[in-house]
Amino acid sequence: MESQQEHKFKVIGTRPIRHDGVDKVTGRAKYGADISLPGMLHGKVLRSPHAHARIKSIDVSAALALPGVKAVITGADFPDIGDNLVQVGENFVNARHLSQNIMARGKVLYDGHAVAAVVATSPHIAEEATKLIKVEYEPLPHVQNVLTAMKDDAPILHPALRTGGTPEKSDKQTNVANQVRFARGDLAAGFAAAAVIVEREFDTTMVHQGYIEPLNAVAQYNQDGHGTIWVSTQGPFAVRELTGHILQMNRGDIKVIPAEIGGGFGGKTTVYLEPLALLLSKKTGRPVKMVMTRNEVLRATGPTSGSHIRVKIGANKEGKITAAQVWMAYEAGAFPGSPIGVACMTVLAPYDLEHLQIDGFDVVLNKPKTAAYRAPGTTNAALGVETVVDELAEKLGVDPLEFRRLNGAQEGTAQPAGPQFRRIGFLETIAAIKNSPHYQSPLPKSENGKLRGRGVASGFWINAGFQSTATVSINTDGTANVVTGSPDIGGTRTSCAMIAAEVLGLKAEDVHPVVADTESIGHTDTTGGSRVTFATGYAVYEAAQDAVRQLKERAATLWKVKPEEVVYQDGAVSCTTNGNESLTLIQLAGRLPRAGGPVTGRASVQPRGVGPAFTTHVVDVEVDAETGKVEILRYTAAQDVGKAVHPGYVEGQIQGGVAQGVGWALNEEYYYDENGILRNTGFLDYRMPTCLDLPMIETILVEVPNPGHPIGIRGVGEVPIVPPPAAIANALYRAVGVRMTELPMSPPKVCKAITEKRG
């Protein structure tokens, strides 16, 4: 591996126009819901109106009798698959749970749980037919609070569930699916050495990724047993794997064609509609399209966990943390699998700690099964740690950035999960914020009597590697095609093309990136974990190097020399032993038929050198003490981005992550009534930030190259969502003197806290 510092990049670091851009500004890009096939039918799902109930009977006869209805499926139509752990990336998913989540068997476990699906000649007829299905329910007691769900006398969702991760096997019925512990050092001794200890408890509610494109799937089952699925997904290979397990089909008999994807943020990494559409197509012999409404998206697809978190941190007079303890219970939703494991890995990782203990619990309750959401589990955890750190700094009279610098992780620091960090840029992000125009300028005084405050917080995300495949083929005109299996959610087609262009000495515009289906490219794990530009980009880098190697061989054949006598530089081959011989790639491409044939570089990789991401944010807020409304006046984020391949899209990831974090901080929440029914099932009440709610979001790209990547790339997409709630809570404290410990910090809660403080 070459040293990145010596690299002078020509393409990487520039801002070319994205290759799929024109399609996306003209309306030509085809998203899943835009796909239409001859003879296509439309499917709709009937969903549970109860939080927890036994299904006593389902009568579909009236629905089937409606003209235009072609078939109805219920849980009885799905094969009974036992517990079956399927590897998706580095996570294991129990296919039995997944199958029960996309279609209830025997019991409904949350408001919105699928009970039946109808397919008809129009979506309107299908929807009418769902209303004709008669389901007899026996309502059961439900539980929606994570602490209540952990109690011995709580309503039980899954009678067979036993807690995993414990030293001793228990035979007790429980809603605690799993527990995790990381510990080192001597906690009691650590706290005994502290001059100040801060201990607080935090509550956060479920929040949704809020992608603008509802989930969709189009499926065609062929009479030969093969099926094709067109879908907006982050993981076409995961869709193939999971659908295959759920329907008991060979994975090779399913082809998944990724459509353009209208946002995902982790939410489109699993299956909901795909197996239903394929099964309905099998029943009818016709292509079937299914698209969720926003109501369905919010009620029945995975949000991220709500949580209860306790944080206790002590520090000595010098401002060094002496001990830290964190206890976190995460809502998994109706089936096991919250991001508690990764939350335990990330929660204290920004700090260099001798004595620590982290306990985590994965708890099922009567809410939708959670799915990944941008840095899963880490934003809620950071609210706890980063506000407690702020309070410690305040009590010790230390600047909060200085406190973080004193305790911040750097190269060699052992993470709570064990491994030591390689070169990371946490301290650099702290310094970047400290020196930023934002932090260096005083907080402007309010002219309207409202209260203002400035807060900082930091964030960490581990990032992912996983598996990727790429091919780089040379066209007859000396341009190149890059084929990958990574759906492009925010510009990664272009970052991959830029990496190939850099290696081949081409312009970014001369490389044509393609996202291929599951039969046209080797296995590639899901777009997630901020991994595409890192890992798929790694595959592209290796594939382009493979193409260069072949180009040198072709030139050697033409010149009748050895390949070692050929060098490739700046898009041209030349001979080291005969200075007269040189060809541009355009010239060589035209001569390939006489030099041994076409050139296609390929690589399948599983890169281990994942570089984690750190970031530090500063925010100025203004609080209306009368209404509790919080306005974001100014926001600056400094992030270690390794090497920014396309700085415009790196900035975009940061700005978008901050915006989602602001929404999580101030307004977004899953609001359930006493019957366990979700009450805010549209964008009017599930209140995401609009452009009027936000200022420009300033970004500082700190480039500390990842030593584990040939170009120094680190994942950048997820970490920016981590600090905003904590940074805003810290700013709010500076403004009004109240420590907020609940998300969202919505106007009623802020107003109440201010009123209580004023007595």
Binding site: T26, G27, R294, G682, F683, T690, M696
Partner: protein, 159 residues
């Protein structure tokens, strides 16, 4: 099927006629009857703006308009923005500023921005934010969208 209504309208400057059920929204007609899938569905409740079209000069959520209401109207969609050989300045600036990530909200933003610049060719940043507040974007944090619209306005004003 006998319940379908015959509608004559103008779509992106061209006379168009179609048959639709009275219950079909203009969004559904555009996408599923006429095949103009550039206009997107995000919520069906008028809260996200992904389905924005310009209807007789006014920005409208096509999910809240019935197809039959298009009778005699003038509809502009994202497909009508570009000329044969040239993108609209808004489209060009969205590309130059990296103002889209997933792109699902982009057609709605472009149409809303066009409607804004049609009536206010020289908006301030706050006026842009106010004019686009009916459109949700979950990817960008709006920063680059606002910059792209301001830049497009400047270009269109010859500045």
């Amino acid at each position: 099927m006998a319940n379908k209504v015959h509608v004559e309208t103008t779509l992106n400057g061209e006379a168009v006629e179609f048959l639709c059920e009275p219950r079909q929204s203009l969004l559904e007609v555009l996408r599923d009857v006429l095949g103009f899938t550039g206009t997107k569905e995000g919520c069906l409740t008028g809260d996200c703006g992904a389905c924005s079209v310009i209807l007789d000069g006014r920005i409208s959520c096509s999910c809240l308009v019935l197809g039959v209401e298009a009778q005699g109207k003038n509809i502009q969609t994202v497909e009508g923005l570009a000329q044969a050989d040239k993108l609209h300045p808004l489209q060009q600036k969205f590309l130059e500023h990296a103002a889209l990530q997933c792109g699902i909200c982009t057609p709605g933003f472009l149409v809303a921005a066009k409607a804004l610049l049609d009536r206010n060719p020289n908006p301030t940043e706050h006026e842009v934010r106010y004019g686009l507040a009916g459109n949700l974007c979950r990817c960008t944090g709006y920063d680059k969208i606002v910059r792209a619209v301001l830049d497009a306005a400047a270009v269109m004003q010859g500045r």
